[in-house]
């Protein structure tokens, strides 16, 4: 029997939804431990760092959460050092996620936030020693901005089918007897092949669809003519009709598919938690270009009036990706 692969799961700054997703899969498939050894998982196993140091190598590390503190950075470096393959799991690890929005916060808010905790203790100290805190970094980063990352599983949180595909393709390789039972739900060819053949997909592969969310959104697309900017509090969208065509900013056209259009199905616009498609260089200019090219007017005054209605475009378009996919604001 082939040796089981060793898996690590770790969460930096974010929530626990990505880890819950792995735990859910563990039960749905009747235990992941049939094919892999979960050897480091602080949230479920209480694994301390010394447990990681005792191991010669980790085969696959699923890293969730954004890099916000020195502790997050150290964890990323230590896990990278030990792991043969590093996976950025979820929007926070893959792109910086919602925590990355603070990179755009007014400088006084960010400065105040850092000084409150990084500065010398101005409160009354008790007698004796007090523990320190991990230093808050200047800006939030995605995992790939700190260490080399082999694969990405985007989403907030990731969808079960792609997470299961990633686990099968990367962590099980050829050892999973259930791999052939996986019905490739519009998986990109490289991932489908990885699952069926046991050959790892190319480095940098993203476990999601290849096209834009619009391809799997069930709403009817007719003619894109942007007449007005509509905010979700102002009106209910027509059921079944493209949200962008109704004036709502919806990032479906620049975002990778894979979610199945879950937000648009609920009547709300896509906010891009799967990140941009390969064809898009930067989702911000692409969205602005796509929307402005469909303005239903040739009158400069009318156009200026429409433009004036837009609010917080950066915070909307880069909701999950500001730290890594905004060319102007992403760190190297």
């Amino acid at each position: 029997m082939p040796k089981k692969k060793k898996i690590a799961v770790y969460a930096a700054t974010g929530c626990r939804a990505c880890e819950q997703a792995i735990l859910d899969i563990h039960y749905q498939v009747g235990s992941l431990t049939r094919w892999a050894e979960l050897s480091f998982w602080p949230y479920i196993l209480g694994s301390e760092w010394k447990k990681l140091e005792e191991q010669s190598e980790i085969d696959v590390c699923f890293f969730t959460g954004a890099i916000r503190t020195s502790s997050d950075r150290q964890a990323a470096l230590r896990l990278r050092d030990k792991s043969r393959l590093m996976i950025a799991l979820g929007a926070c690890a893959a792109f910086g996620g919602l925590p990355g929005l603070v990179n755009m916060a007014p400088s006084e808010v960010r400065k105040e936030s850092r000084e409150e905790t990084n500065g010398p203790n101005s409160r009354t100290r008790e007698k004796g020693e007090e523990p320190n805190l991990p230093r808050m970094e200047e800006r939030v980063s995605a995992l790939s901005q700190v260490v080399d990352v082999e694969y990405f599983v985007p989403g907030c949180p990731p969808r079960q089918n792609f997470l299961w595909a990633a686990i099968q393709a990367i962590a099980f390789e050829t050892e999973s007897p259930v791999r052939l039972s996986f019905s490739a739900l519009r998986l990109p060819q490289a991932m489908a092949q990885a699952i069926t053949s046991g050959v790892l997909p190319p480095k940098g592969s993203v476990f999601s669809g290849e096209r834009a969310v619009c391809a799997s959104c069930a709403r009817t697309k007719e003619k894109k003519q942007f007449k007005e900017f509509a905010r979700p509090w102002q009106k209910d969208p027509d059921q079944g009709r493209c949200l962008l065509e109704q004036g709502f900013i919806c990032q479906g056209i620049v975002t990778r598919e894979g979610c199945g259009g879950v937000c648009t199905a609920a009547g709300l616009s896509c906010r891009g938690c799967f990140g941009k498609t390969d064809e898009v260089f930067d989702p911000g200019p692409k969205m602005v270009s796509a929307v402005s090219s469909t303005f239903d007017s040739d009158n400069p005054i009318e156009i200026a009036s429409t433009v004036d209605q837009f609010v917080d475009l950066a915070g909307t378009i880069y909701r999950y990706t500001l730290a890594s996919q905004c060319t102007l604001l992403s760190s190297p």
Binding site: C15, A21, Y43, V102, P106, T117, L133, V311, D312
Partner: protein, 441 residues
């Protein structure tokens, strides 16, 4: 003795580190939140209608609290169907949250992934129960499915919007929801038998830890019928009641350099209402500490649904009269609320309750300020927003259970460390003890 550090505690939803300095007359234990949440940085400048989606990162219940605050800000009443759908979502979140905590409790002495006994747990204690764990996880899974049907997504729901909800249920959803509540209610009753027989009862596995009790302290709950916050003292006596919008006049926030999360405490305005009340950590620990959540709601002594009320009588018969501050009652209160949530789901999920002509009233104008409080599964939460003329957020204040229970968790860490050191526990035993003590809060 060298300081003890626990970098990784099981089941903590926040990034937490525990530091214990064992030397000196009194050993000192620190409960540290090691990463900031930066709600202000996330939300300032955003269109206010986006906040229910953004703040669901804190927990799914924050999505609902945020939508309630938007209702106030836009001055709009959701139609009855939307109110019911939101309530059904909230009760399902209660069920899921509490069941997950019970999963952790049941699996606490062994590795839930391989069913092997964890080091530091000996051979006594909760038996590895893969069957009950499978059942628990299966019901967490179907509860999450119900959250998806009602909220659009499971971990970060999005369907609650200003003035209502964003979509109707589909015809096929009613039948599925009906199966879900039947399964959840039936399982809750079986789970109760298991918990009483194996874990919660007087002579059962939790009895050694269950006797652990915190000192009587104040607790805070929301009386939803009157939209009133009620603060009671350690004897159960009412100390104060006030409108939620006065919460930051009544509750202060204290910062320490060793935690990213402030500690909430009860303000004392005896020197005059305008006097800013700033206290030190020891004063907070002495008599300004309070807590929120299931145990606080149990101690509030309000009427429950029929099966949950029966369960409450069993709890009182086993543990004694309210208010309770012991660990066993804290876990029992989780189960009690889980059972109540299942009963409420059974009622709320009925097709006639989830059907109606309108799901949303569209706001006609925008105010400048909105606030709302909500009893979430983890305790009372509060949102307050101010916006500019374009509806962009200029000020935001969110009171969350992590802040409210921070002082309590610091106290519990200190007390647990003292007991573990006195009993000469191994480091691993001390860690396991800490994890269980902190779990229900």
């Amino acid at each position: 003795m060298k300081e003890i550090t626990f970098d990784a505690l099981r089941w903590m939803e926040e990034p937490v580190r525990i530091k214990i300095f064992p030397d000196g007359e009194h050993p000192r234990g620190y409960f540290q939140i090691t990463s900031p949440r930066e709600v202000e940085g996330l939300c300032q400048g955003r269109p206010v209608e986006e906040l229910p989606r953004i703040l669901s990162i804190l927990s799914p219940a924050h999505h609902l609290a945020s939508a309630l605050a938007l209702d106030k800000l836009f001055g709009v009443e959701p139609p009855p169907l939307a109110v019911t759908m939101r309530e059904a979502l909230l009760q399902t979140l209660f069920f899921e949250n509490h069941l997950r905590k019970i999963y952790f409790l049941v699996s606490s002495r062994f590795d839930p992934l391989s069913s092997s006994i964890l080091p530091g747990n000996g051979t006594q204690g909760f038996p590895p129960s893969p069957h009950i764990l499978d059942e628990i996880m299966s019901h967490i899974s179907i509860a999450r499915e119900a959250v998806t049907l009602l909220g659009g997504r499971s971990d970060h729901p999005l369907s609650a919007v200003a003035g209502g909800v964003s979509r109707y249920l589909k015809e096929e959803n009613y039948e599925r929801l009906s199966h879900i509540y039947e399964s959840c209610l039936g399982f809750s009753l079986r789970l109760g038998e298991f918990l009483r027989q194996e874990i919660l009862g007087k002579d059962q596995a939790l009895s050694d830890l269950g006797a652990f009790s915190m000192a009587p302290m104040s607790f805070m709950t929301l009386s939803e019928a009157k939209d009133t916050v009620i603060l009671r003292g350690g004897l159960g006596q009412e100390l104060d009641r006030f409108s939620p919008d006065r919460i930051f006049q009544k509750i202060g926030l204290h910062r320490e350099s060793w935690s990213y999360e402030p500690l909430a405490y009860i303000q004392d305005h005896s020197g005059g209402p305008e006097l800013k009340d700033q206290v030190g950590l020891q004063a907070i620990f002495h008599d300004r500490c309070f807590f929120v959540g299931p145990l606080a709601r149990l101690n509030q002594d309000t009427a429950l649904t029929p099966l949950a009320e029966e369960e409450r009588q069993r709890l009182l018969g086993d543990r004694g009269p309210l208010p309770r501050f012991d660990l066993s009652s804290a876990f029992w209160s989780l189960f009690l609320e889980l059972l109540q949530a299942a009963e409420k789901m059974a009622e709320l999920y009925k097709k006639e309750n989830l059907t109606g002509p309108e799901i949303r009233n569209i706001p006609t104008e925008m105010g400048r300020e909105g606030q709302a409080a909500l009893e979430s599964p983890k305790g009372l939460i509060y949102h307050h927003y101010r916006v500019d003329e374009k509806g962009l957020v200029t000020d935001i204040a969110v009171l969350d259970t992590v802040t409210e229970n921070n002082a309590l968790r610091c106290l519990l860490t200190q007390k647990t460390a003292e007991i573990a050191l006195t009993r000469k526990h191994t480091t691993q035993e001390m860690k396991n003890f800490l994890e269980l003590v902190l779990l229900p809060f």
